[in-house]
Subunit: 98 residues, 2 copies
């Protein structure tokens, strides 16, 4: 599994906007060939901090996500709602063994 | 979804031991009632750093995990392999909507 944890720090006044836009991205992303996870997490103690947990079968499938219309629309929609640049960290998904 | 990201920093000489023990924990945990995710991730650029991504239907199911024999065995097995105390952060899993 090729996985990425994307940390997103959202401006407080745009939390609801961010959740709505990210829901659309989630719904389309889980339909992609090769997608295994697209989980949207909100930190319980700090609701302006989110994690997008994205898992794909391989690096090619992950790269293809970045070219989809829904990803590009999301990226543009949320650009002004970030309180700081988002950070993605790549992980090797050991288990489950997809 | 009740989710926790557990950051684990493992002593370099115990990375293989940690993976083997955590595999057993993964295999048993995904059989638990209420478990939705028990993904074991290794940082691509820093292989001594791991994330356990654990998702349960609710807080009760997450709490029940901490009482299982496989969790308790894992906790004891890995105790001396940590390079620093592990850190768990609780997130509300917004999507998917389990």
């Amino acid at each position: 599994m090729h996985t990425t944890l994307v940390k997103v720090n959202v401006k407080a006044e745009h939390i609801d906007d961010f959740i709505a836009a990210t829901r659309l991205n989630h719904e389309a992303s889980v339909q992609e060939s090769g997608n295994l996870r697209f989980d949207v997490l909100q930190m319980a103690d700090s609701p302006s901090q989110f994690i997008l947990y994205e898992a794909y079968r391989d690096a090619d499938a992950a790269a293809a996500h970045k070219k989809t219309a829904h990803y590009l629309a999301w990226r543009e929609a949320v650009a002004d709602w970030m309180a700081s640049p988002r950070q993605g960290v790549h992980y090797i998904g050991l288990y489950p063994e997809y």
